[in-house]
């Protein structure tokens, strides 16, 4: 009975949402949208502060945001405060896992020896995966990617070591220090901007020529910090999930 009621309710909700969105009443017709009314338009031409017609790769310099990657320019510059928030979401989630499982779970007691191929293979691949991850977050302002995918990749490399190396499992403490350091530095960069120019998270450095590795001001620095933080937090979550379940 309960299930039928739920299915009917879901059906009603689904119909409500579907008809509301697909009636096309609310949206402007395709092709008729006035781009000047939308914030995204200014993000593309990078002309929020000063008017800018064309952004040319490798030539335009000293733009308000020097990132060649649109997504990055929005995520880490125009809306950097949201990213600080998202980093905090991950931080608090990993902390929650640690608080719950850290007190409930015990250390992995039984040992197993992975077979030769996995042991050697993991050690060979680990630096490559980690390097790719680092590459991705260092080049976050130029190419697709950035701190979040780069950090996840590093955590996946650590997971591989966990599977392969029993000594690593035993020695592994936590990355709490890296996590704390990266997070604090992100906030401090923001506060530095506040002190020097009056805006929190202001891009106080020279943004350089668009497309250069050393460009875009604080964006690459922030993305490296985000990458480190995401990497260490996800690793922490993996470590906690590997703990043995204990009956209370």
């Amino acid at each position: 009975m309960k299930r039928i009621a739920v299915i009917i309710l879901l059906g009603v909700l689904g119909f409500f949402i579907f008809s509301g969105i697909y009636s096309n009443e609310a949206f402007t017709e395709f092709g008729n949208v006035d781009l000047n009314n939308r914030v995204s338009n200014k993000f593309i031409t990078k002309s929020v502060t000063d008017e800018n017609d064309i952004v040319e790769f490798g030539k335009s310099s000293n733009l308000e945001t020097g990132s060649a990657n649109y997504v990055t320019s929005i995520v880490v510059n125009y809306r950097s405060f949201d990213t600080l928030g998202e980093v905090t979401v991950l931080f608090i989630s990993s902390l929650g896992v640690a608080l719950l499982l850290g007190t409930l779970g015990g250390k992995l007691t039984h040992k197993y020896r992975a077979n030769f191929i996995l042991r050697v293979g993991a050690k060979t691949i680990f630096p490559l995966i980690a390097l790719t991850g680092i590459y991705i977050f260092i080049h976050g302002h130029l190419t697709p990617g950035g701190g979040f995918p780069g950090g996840s990749m590093i955590a996946s490399a650590v997971l591989l070591l966990y599977l392969a190396d029993e000594n690593f499992r035993a020695k592994m403490s936590s990355f709490k220090l890296a996590e704390s350091f990266a997070g604090s530095l992100y906030v401090l960069i923001g506060i530095f901007g506040l002190l020097t120019s009056g805006y929190f998270l202001n891009n106080f450095m020279n943004t350089g020529v668009i497309g250069d590795l050393f460009s875009a001001g604080i964006i690459p620095i922030v993305y490296v910090l985000v990458g480190l933080k995401v990497g260490s937090e996800l690793t922490g979550i993996i470590t906690d999930f590997l703990k043995v379940e204990v009956d209370e």
């Binding site: 949206f27 950097s80 928030g85």
Partner: protein, 477 residues
């Protein structure tokens, strides 16, 4: 210090540092709470952009009379609550630091997506705090409901963004004025569900009973006072000031509010455990506040909201402490418990009577204001429901107070020797702060002009017909 962003980022910085400085976590929490309380008196009203990009392109913080009052009250209550339950904060210091940052962020932000981010942060800290009771099933319930709720809020917001091309509150609000709001039922309703889960409105409040009903003195008072206050302030911002609602939606939201109010009071009436009575009363109050915000009465609603969160901070702390020490919070087993704890008893009583809205207490001032507001809007139905709810509220609170004060069986001789043998020791902090808060309630009740002239920057808005505080600053655009 004039930039309110520091209220958000300083607790956050200390939260990150507290992971490394494990032994000083508790002190860091205290420092952040004190910093914020000092800060709210120094910050100046205005719009503050982040990253130096003007609104609506960048994110901005909106510090107007409404949000200034909100951060003022929430930060002070936060400090008082963690001081009252000082012995319980250690384990959760980092979580509480992040929560403090998130709560301030929710209240200050002028951007609907940024609000979602802070809503996420605050709800995750809520899930973690709720695990303190070790009743994991209830926490899991809360987690699932809260996550789906904020997902629906995001879904609604995406639709709004697709229509208006902006996330800035003031920008969207302006664009909505020249738009047929009848077409926006779906996104606004989805956003409403998202906030209603946290605001405990029926039928989205399945998690409340398990979480509030098992919370200790720290967690219970934080949830019922600081969290509930913040989410309702945000609710008032989004649905009372930013989004332009069509008449049909207003009717639906008011109906949900009225149902929540009446059902909450009736449920509270049928309960015997102190915390359950309080939690259903909180649900009812949320319904009341939400429906009043939707009808456009901002100032009286804020007065009532303050009444609710200040009194709930006192009552939940006391109820939580009683159940921690006495292993039960069933009123029948705690007869006469206040006879040995007179200061605590008086504070609890003052809070309860103020919440009912008896004259001489602050609650009377807030309730008479909101009833006058409703009458001036010719909204007699809602006013009648509020009066009905007040009668039920009065009945169960007075019954509860009689049980907690008078030892012995009902209808028989009451004597001090019948006092329950369950011992509850209230520490100095709890006594002083609870008593102080009840003194404030009394003072504000005896001379409401004190509230009007001193505490509120909003007083000039008291008589305004349809105030929209948002537009003092125009979102910084």
């Amino acid at each position: 210090m004039t930039n309110p962003v520091l209220l958000i980022v300083v607790p956050l910085l200390l939260a990150f540092l507290s992971v490394a400085l494990k032994n000083n976590k508790k002190q860091l929490l205290f420092i952040a709470a004190v910093f914020n309380v000092v800060g709210v008196f120094i910050i100046e009203n205005g719009s503050y952009v982040i990253g130096g990009f003007r609104a609506p392109y960048g994110i901005n913080l909106n510090l107007d009379a409404y949000s200034h009052l909100a951060v003022l009250v929430i930060n002070i209550l936060f400090l008082l609550i963690i001081t009252m339950s000082n012995e319980k904060t250690k384990e959760f210091s980092t979580v509480l630091l992040v929560a403090l940052a998130g709560l301030n962020g929710m209240l200050l932000t002028g951007d609907l997506f940024n609000l979602f981010v802070f809503l996420e942060i605050v709800s995750i800290t809520g899930y973690i705090l709720s695990t303190e009771s070790k009743k994991y099933k209830y926490s899991f319930n809360y987690l699932i409901l809260g996550t789906i709720g904020s997902g629906l809020y995001l879904f609604g917001l995406i639709i709004l963004y697709a229509i208006f091309g902006s996330l800035n509150m003031a920008d969207i609000s302006f664009k909505m004025l020249s738009y047929d709001t009848g077409k926006l039922v779906v996104p606004i309703f989805l956003m409403f569900i998202g906030l209603a889960v946290e605001a405990k409105l029926i039928p989205f409040n399945g998690w409340v009973r398990g979480v509030y009903g098992n919370a200790n003195s720290l967690i219970g008072s934080l949830f019922a006072s600081v969290y509930a206050g913040t989410i309702l302030f945000v609710f008032g911002r989004v649905f009372g000031q930013v989004l332009v609602l069509s008449e049909y939606l207003v009717a639906v939201f008011v109906a949900i509010g009225v149902i929540t109010l009446i059902a909450g009071e009736v449920a509270a009436f049928s309960k015997n455990k102190i915390r359950e009575i309080l939690l259903f009363s909180s649900i009812a109050q949320s319904g009341l506040v939400a429906l009043l915000f939707v009808t456009g009465l901002i100032f009286p609603t804020v007065l009532q909201l303050l009444n609710n969160i200040i009194t709930k901070a006192v009552m939940f702390t006391i109820a939580g402490k009683i159940s921690d020490d006495a292993d039960t919070d069933e009123a029948d087993k705690l007869k006469g418990i206040f006879a040995n704890n007179k200061i605590i008893g008086v504070s609890f009583t003052v809070s309860a009577l103020s919440l009912i809205g008896l004259p001489l207490f602050y609650g009377f001032y807030s309730k008479i204001n909101l009833l006058l507001g409703l009458f001036s809007k010719i909204n007699y139905f809602v006013a009648a429901f509020i009066l009905l709810a007040t009668i039920i509220e009065g009945a169960y609170f007075i019954r509860l107070l009689v049980k907690l004060w008078t030892p012995g069986e009902e209808g028989k001789e009451s004597n001090i020797k019948f006092v329950t043998d369950r011992k509850v020791e209230f520490d100095f902090n709890k006594k002083v702060i609870a008593f102080m808060l009840s003194l404030i309630i009394l003072l504000a009740g005896i001379s409401p002009s004190l509230v009007k002239t001193n505490l509120f920057a909003m007083n000039k808005l008291l008589n305004e017909e349809n105030p929209s505080y948002m537009f003092e600053l125009k979102g910084g655009m």
